[in-house]
Symmetry: C2
Subunit: 458 residues, 2 copies
């Protein structure tokens, strides 16, 4: 019971999103006599879990906060795979970051992309679309820029195998999947039909497993009786991974249960398999070619290129190596939080999950608030793992929290409740809940839209 | 009361969408002895109101029906302006056309674009994306391909002033509007800021009026307290029209009431004004330039280019001139229905509205069903106008049905109820209803997403 509550609390903090953007124009000359002491400026880059949590934690601090993101919306990443498989609409897992200004007076939001960081001058150059470049000054800098798909040095795979990080990615994948069935129906070539009906997922972490199970159910339930020539239920869904088992961050017993569930859904799992090539015909793995029109990349991620602009030490995945107060070695007032930060605890890396990002964002907000008030830093950051979950299709999820392990239908209900509660904006909680309820009963999915226009390259 | 019921019935027929696609492969050689008599093939081009209604009307007919559309979804056009102004999500007013196959056995759906029509050989060449061209044979051809924005010979305006016909258009407009406020906030140039906060709509028909009112409420209510430097309520919304009054298809008294409501919402209406130029800086109208970053084209429409492929007589807007049974003069078995058909009744053109499209689609389905059974054609098509409505923001709509005219809050409630009932798919009715309820109470809008990627040219 306690376990459950801590997870609820951990997740719901991302609940109603909240953010910050200071007036970033050059200020009046501060040397003028009788000038009111200027507020410290906190610049946060990234409106994901970590950035939003940091901004919210500064709500009562005597600072001006600017939150910069190149997108106008915060997204609830854990349910992104459901947008990619037509269960949910993009807006249902998103909230406009700017809306936070209405709730937090010391915050302003700027739609812009970071171009350059100068630690010495304490400035960040950003490009505002349609307006041009601007230089923002800061006293504290928080980089919460997240990760993007990484192809382990094979960037040429990107064109054929999209990853899943943004709403745009999710819509690209949804269109790819739905188009594959349309093409299988239109073609007269049996080989091509088989290729269109083969879906390959590279990487059996939570995203790969969730996507594979969701595609399997789309094919067998939702699309049933929707075609005349093909039987979508005969689709082949292949989940590849170089490691020894699916969901390797979970206990082996749970991993085995998830694999069993995937098999039951008709997903072919191949572990210990290295993908050598991805091209327009499909993949080559373990020396054999799997013809496939839909290859999805759920394997590696690397840090946003913004991290590199800090000029600090990074790990292999491009994450900034930070100290116990999440700051980089070169500057005590420059912090990296969330997935883009590499920090170890008790010899283990802190995982790149939502709850770690939220905890770090909140932590750093408090550190800054303390420093502004002239107080000393408190205790260093400590990640409290409240438990991890993964879902494998309808009616089945796994949960590991401390020594507690559970799987099955009840765990799935808990998963569903937690994720609804954690969604940004009350309205979205209501919408997702009704969508799920309807989808559960009918097997239908509400967003079977093939988007128009050329799919974005990469 | 009766008036109200007939409108409900007229609209709700578009209710649960339903469609048709025959096996369009070349058949077995029919000269083989003892061959079972082949079913007649009906080919419908377009999955809008007219095409869907025609397919449904053929449900019990002994025919093979193929419905071809280049999009995989039917959309409920009357609410498209709400997707363009972030009130609704694209999926909420759409339904996958293919889903109809599950409900109608003699129907198959093909995702393809029409490339060529040969009336003599009774074939239609289509391009299936990713698969290639195919030739479909037909015994009856129904063209229900609809309209697209028309710039009266000024196609160069298209780049700067998108029209509103597809979900893609709606997302383009939504992104343009939301981006304008972001840019107004980012820029330091007062002139540019004013330009970004000026929205010009060309054409004061129902779409122009609905969009203008919805943008006004977005600016004054939804975005309130969401910006630090700009006050969105100070946006300028200009509605231009070459004619003498807004909503010219309605009675003059209703037109005047709508204009009064627009003025109350802060929309500047200029009638009798000709737009001479649209470029990236804005519009030139009546000799004066209005600097604007967001110009929307709600003026003219012309028929889909598919109509031209028929080689029949067309009117100025490219619509096929059809006879009393909706067929073209050259071929008694080739029909044009919906907005793309030009037909007059009692000396007046039948308007391009949803109810006319539905009535024509249903009519032609019955004509075909009759002919297949060897029966004579019944009475020619007759449009029964069950009344027209237009909405002007929150709490205000106008209704004209025969001699009945009403406007105001109760009319708006009727408008809302009718449109919810008419939505395709039960689930969408539920979703839109809750969205509206929430939006009505909170003033918030649920889909404030700026889409990524380059906006499509034109």
């Amino acid at each position: 019971m306690r376990q459950r509550r801590v997870i609820v609390n951990a997740l719901r903090r991302s609940g109603s999103v909240s953010t910050v953007l200071t007036n970033s124009l050059p200020r009046e000359n501060p040397t003028v006599a009788n000038a009111v002491p200027l507020k410290k400026r906190v610049l946060i880059v990234g409106g994901g879990f970590a950035g939003i949590a940091a901004a919210r934690a500064l709500k009562r601090a005597d600072v001006d906060v600017v939150l910069v993101d190149r997108r106008n919306h915060h997204i609830f990443q854990p349910l992104l795979y459901q947008v990619a498989t037509a269960v949910l609409s993009p807006a249902e897992i998103a909230a406009p970051i700017r809306q936070l200004e209405a709730k937090q007076k010391n915050l302003s939001v700027l739609l812009a992309e970071v171009k350059n960081i100068n630690n010495g001058a304490r400035t960040v150059e950003v490009a505002c679309p349609g307006v041009g470049n601007r230089k923002l000054e800061y006293d504290f800098l928080v980089i919460a820029a997240g990760m993007r798909p990484s192809y382990f040095g094979h960037d040429e795979f990107a064109r054929f195998a999209p990853g899943l990080k943004s709403l745009n990615d999710a819509e690209t994948i949804r269109t790819k999947i739905l188009n594959a069935f349309e093409m299988a129906e239109s073609t007269d070539d049996e080989k091509e039909r088989a290729r269109q009906m083969t879906f390959v997922l590279v990487g059996a972490g939570p995203t790969g497993v969730e996507l594979a199970a969701s595609i399997a159910q789309l094919a067998t339930v939702t699309l049933r009786r929707n075609f005349r020539k093909i039987d979508p239920a005969k689709s082949r869904i292949v989940l590849l991974d170089g490691g020894a088992r699916v969901l390797p961050t979970f206990a082996e017993s749970l991993s085995r249960k998830a694999a069993g569930r995937l098999a039951k859904l008709g997903v072919e799992v191949s572990t210990g398999v290295k993908v050598e090539k991805v091209d327009e015909q499909g993949v080559i793995a373990a020396g054999a070619r799997i013809p496939s029109a839909t290859v999805l990349w759920t394997a590696g991620v690397s840090a946003s290129p913004v991290v590199k602009m800090l000029g600090t030490t990074t790990d292999r995945a491009g994450r900034a190596v930070v100290g116990p107060f999440m700051n980089i070695a070169e500057a005590p007032d420059v912090f990296v939080v969330g997935d883009a930060a590499a920090i170890t605890q008790d010899g283990h890396p802190v995982p790149g999950v939502a709850q770690a990002a939220i905890q770090q964002g909140r932590f750093i907000g408090q550190v800054i608030a303390n420093r502004v008030r002239g107080r000393k830093d408190g205790r260093p950051f400590r990640y409290r793992n409240k438990g991890n979950m993964a879902v494998v299709g309808k009616n089945f999820a796994i949960l590991e929290a401390g020594h507690l392990r559970s799987s099955g239908f009840v765990t799935w209900l808990i998963w569903a409740a937690l994720h609804v509660l954690a969604l940004p904006q009350l309205q979205n909680r209501f919408r997702v809940q009704t969508q799920w309820f309807w989808s559960y009963l009918s097997g239908q999915r509400s967003s079977r839209l093939i988007s128009e226009g050329p799919p974005p390259a990469g």
